[in-house]
């Protein structure tokens, strides 16, 4: 899984039918210490994450389809949690 921060949303009306009804968030990838790594990904929201929130993103197709509960979805990245705190060993 990936640590990320929600930095936007993407709207696509013409899309693969498997995407219908899913909200898509633009997520900046974060390093463990919370600094952006410079890359981003677009993930389907399964945790009602809002803008600016730190989130946990599952970036694997099989797991994504299990979380969304439907086979055959062309979805690989899903926001599965909202992170309250990250504790790192010194």
């Amino acid at each position: 899984m990936i640590l990320g921060r929600v930095c936007g949303t993407v709207v696509t009306t013409i899309q693969h039918e498997g995407m219908n009804g899913h909200r898509m968030l633009v997520v900046d990838r974060l390093a463990p210490d919370g600094t952006p790594t410079g890359s981003y990904l677009i993930a389907v929201d399964a945790a009602q994450a809002g803008p600016g929130e730190t989130v946990l993103v599952l970036d694997e197709g099989n797991g994504a389809r299990q979380v969304l509960g439907r086979e055959g979805l062309p979805i690989r990245s899903v926001v599965v949690g909202i992170v309250d705190e990250v504790l790192l060993a010194e």
Binding site: G8, V11, T12, I14, V26, I42, L73, P74
Partner: protein, 94 residues
């Protein structure tokens, strides 16, 4: 999944079974702010609606093949949707 811009199309006369009639598009990957990043690649277009110049969302790996029907096809990048709007929150929360 990431953003991309369609910069061209490709016509293939002989193709593997299951890929007949699937449009192939040249896509330039974009940053979240729509700036070109990295090398263009060829995407299969399951929506069959994306035209040159349009901004699309694309996905890689097995999920790319799942956008097509039949889905057991040798495709590693595919267009998932045509972007109407990308709203990026600025650092100051607007």
């Amino acid at each position: 999944m990431q953003l991309g811009r369609v910069i061209g199309t490709m016509v293939v006369s002989v193709t593997t079974p299951g890929m007949e009639g699937v449009p192939l598009l040249w896509v330039q990957p974009l940053s979240k702010l729509n700036e070109p990043v990295g090398e263009p690649f060829v995407c299969a277009d399951g929506t069959r609606m994306a035209g040159p110049g349009e901004i699309v969302t694309w996905v890689a790996s097995r999920e790319a093949a799942l956008t097509l029907n039949p889905s057991y096809v040798p495709v590693d990048h595919a267009v998932v949707g045509l972007v109407d709007d990308t709203h990026i929150h600025q650092e100051d929360g607007t």
